[in-house]
């Protein structure tokens, strides 16, 4: 067995990919299958005042229609548990699902969608996090008092700390402040979101899914369908790229509801444009840093405020803010850290996980902050990173103890690859030995 370690092996399923035999979800065409097209909100924020699906329902070739009242179980899902499958009344983002038409083919279903009679009272949306936090901002959730996510009732800021930043700043000869922002990004896997659902021979609802994480979603689907999990056969494993975007349900809920209601195999797939415009994105992060540094370059305090744009629904964003807090001080030993994270709702498609979810959104600004510190203090940026890099036994803000630290070794390798000659005293450092500059960490205050 061990002879294979370090070898490049052809993929066990690679012949399927190379011959086109691998079946992705959209490759399933079942006898009697019907197709879904959806009505999405044309406005960013509003209230549905009138919805009449009868013209769509009476279109030749249309099997039936779906809206909020057709959700058999709970019309809420998502990691935040706050997103409706079909919105019954309030629209929170452009592209939000309102209704669906099921037809013998997509053209027919689309003909039905174009006939839906709908009236929406448009309202003023808010897209910018800081605008959304103002006291008079339009409310994304009509039943709430602010656009801040509540981690627990009344609790809108998630704080993590180790040590005491004020004590840290008191020891620092330099205080450096900076604001950093990362933008939105789409996952854009080549395979758009798609789902095929049907009732199997045991009357179970079978769903071929593009999901990256069936067990994040199975429970949510069971609640939506009002079925025990044992009545759902959730079939996944072949994914045409996900990159975090397929952690959220985009198609299985609609296909499943249609299969249950009409008793026929159903295919629902998003077009590329729907996928790009309305599916979940990597959300915007803004981080404010205040860092205390000693004359010798030792980092002694890091106070971070971070804001995460969640879009219209919670999704993974509250968790993302917490996770970002853990990584926003980078792989560096700072005895006094305080992070304050807030998640803000705006009238945009929901944010979601994406590759290195929220980690680089914290590490990128920390590295930029180190650059700024190097510039403002005149300390060499390599020196600054080497002396502060995690050594085994250090503690991060979440108070885990670092084992197997490797930042110094990685930096040495990077310098080597970049053709940069590091000074001897840095080359002599490693992740097992504390640097000479390092003072004793302040006691952890619980």
């Amino acid at each position: 067995m061990t002879e294979y370690v370090g070898m490049s092996m052809p993929r066990y399923d690679g012949v399927g990919q190379a011959t086109g035999r691998t079946k992705y979800v959209d490759d399933f065409v079942l006898p009697g299958m019907v197709y879904v097209k959806v009505l999405r909100s044309p406005v960013h924020k509003g209230v549905i005042r009138h919805l009449d699906l009868s013209a769509a329902e009476n279109t030749p070739g249309v099997v039936g229609v779906l809206s909020a009242e057709d959700v058999p179980g709970v019309n809420l899902y998502g990691a935040g548990g706050d997103q409706p499958v079909f919105t019954p009344e309030h629209i929170r983002y452009k592209g939000e699902l309102i209704a669906a038409v099921v037809g013998v083919d997509e053209d027919t279903a689309m003909e039905g969608v174009e006939k839906i009679d709908i009236q929406i009272e448009e309202q003023t949306p808010v897209f910018d996090m800081f605008e959304a936090m103002k006291p008079d901002a339009p409310l994304v959730r009509p039943d709430s008092e602010s656009n801040l996510w509540e981690y627990e009732p009344g609790q809108t800021t998630r704080v993590m700390y180790i040590g005491d930043v004020e004590e840290g700043f008191a020891q620092a000869e330099h205080i450096v402040e900076g604001r950093y922002q990362t933008g939105e990004q789409d996952h854009a896997p080549l395979e758009p979101h798609a789902s095929v659902a049907y009732l199997d021979e045991a009357e179970r609802l079978a769903i071929h899914t593009v999901s990256q994480c069936l067990y994040f979603q199975l429970g949510q689907l069971a609640a939506i369908f009002g079925l025990p999990m044992s009545k759902i056969r959730y079939i996944g494993g072949t994914v045409g790229g996900g990159f975090g975007g397929k952690n959220h349900i985009h198609a299985d809920h609609v296909a499943g509801i249609a299969a249950l209601k009409f008793g026929r195999p159903v295919k629902y797939r998003e077009t590329r444009r729907e996928d790009l415009q309305y599916s979940t994105k990597r959300g915007v992060f803004i981080l404010d840093y205040k860092t205390g540094v000693r004359d010798d370059g030792t980092l002694v305090a890091n106070h971070i405020k971070l804001w995460h744009d969640s879009g219209a629904y919670g999704g993974f964003s509250p968790y993302g803010g917490e996770k970002c807090s853990m990584f926003a001080s980078g792989p560096y030993h700072i005895p006094n850290i305080r992070t304050e994270a807030q998640t803000i709702l705006t009238n945009k498609a929901g944010s979601s996980s994406m590759r290195g979810f929220t980690i680089m959104n914290g590490q990128f600004p920390m590295e930029m902050q180190l650059h700024k510190i190097a510039e403002e203090t005149g300390i060499d940026p390599w020196e600054l990173r080497f002396i502060n890099a995690w050594r085994d036994g250090d503690k991060g803000v979440s108070r885990y103890t670092v084992r197997g630290a490797g930042a110094i070794e990685a930096m040495k390798k990077a310098a080597d690859l970049a053709g940069i000659e590091l000074p001897e005293h840095l080359l002599a450092m490693d992740s097992r030995t504390p640097p000479p500059q390092r003072g004793e960490a302040a006691d952890v205050v619980d």
């Binding site: 053209d107 027919t108 689309m110 003909e111």
Partner: protein, 283 residues
């Protein structure tokens, strides 16, 4: 969508009669690279699709000191044409950056023109060569200057029933250059594109053409820049003034690809580069 009719005429007269009969309900299908996405995304609901790929409009000929290009010639065929490469290098340059191999296999030059996108990459090179279009309709044929063809984004002077049948490109003198900037090199719609042709007598410019793409509602001839050049000694200062004058004639838009501000900046730089290259200035 179900009641759409499909026609694949083999005679021009039949094609123009079909187009006249269906009027606005007709969709002309050549290579399909612009039309089919509109069909796939339900943006167009034609009553009839008239496929003009069987009209034998794919050819490049040299005729009486001009190139005669059939409107149905694919971009791949143009790129492979010795006549185009020898006499009209900037068209080949523009096409080599247009779309990608699989798009160029089917996309036609007539389609690129008739679609009337402000970003049509073949148009600025054709404009600087003073190209004419032959339009054929149910009532006969007319020849128009390409620069009079466009009236707005997606809008042209084509009458109901009319098709572009040929493009006539005079084999004019002068150095030429084509420059484009997009989001990436391959398969990207131009953020700004520039073609120039400049005739020199020693250091003095005797005649010039400057054309821009993606900088206004239609592809644009920059006559103010051309007038500045004629009869003048070409140097870095004049090039800079021409670039300034040319973008002064434009009305670029902000969209997802670039801001108007960026288009102006990029357009100016491209004009200066193209003029220097076409005049052999090596600046």
């Amino acid at each position: 969508m179900k009641d759409v009719r499909y026609f694949a005429p083999t005679e021009m007269a039949e094609a123009t009669q079909l187009l006249a009969r269906y009027g606005d309900g007709a969709a002309v299908l050549a290579g399909g690279t612009d039309l089919v996405p509109q069909l796939n995304y339900y943006e167009r609901h034609p009553e009839a699709i008239v496929f003009i790929g069987n009209l034998n409009l794919g050819y490049v000929k040299e005729d009486d000191s001009k190139l005669v290009i059939g409107a149905g010639t694919t971009l791949a065929e143009l790129l492979a044409s010795d006549l185009v490469v020898a006499h009209f290098g900037i068209l080949a340059d523009a096409i080599s950056e247009l779309g990608t191999v699989a798009i160029r296999t089917t996309a036609t030059i007539g389609g690129n023109i008739a679609n009337a996108s402000p970003a049509a990459d073949t148009v600025p090179p054709l404009l600087v060569m003073d190209a004419d279009l032959v339009l054929v309709g149910p009532d006969g044929e007319r020849t128009v200057a390409l620069q009079d063809f466009f009236t707005g984004p997606g809008e042209t002077i084509l009458d109901t029933g009319e098709l572009i049948s040929e493009i006539h490109v005079p084999l004019l003198n002068g150095g030429t250059s084509f420059k484009k900037v997009g989001m990436r090199k391959a398969q990207s719609c131009a953020i700004a594109a520039v073609a120039v042709r400049i005739e020199m007598d020693g250091d003095t410019c005797t005649d010039a053409r400057v054309a821009l793409g993606s900088m206004a509602p239609t592809p644009l001839r920059c006559t103010t820049a051309e007038d500045l050049l004629k009869g003048e000694t070409l140097d870095a200062d004049l090039v800079a003034r021409c670039a300034e004058a040319a973008v002064g004639q434009t009305k670029p838009i902000d969209d997802q690809r670039a801001s108007a501000w960026y288009r102006i900046k990029a357009g100016k730089a491209l004009i200066a580069k193209a003029l220097s290259e076409a005049a052999g200035l090596g600046m």
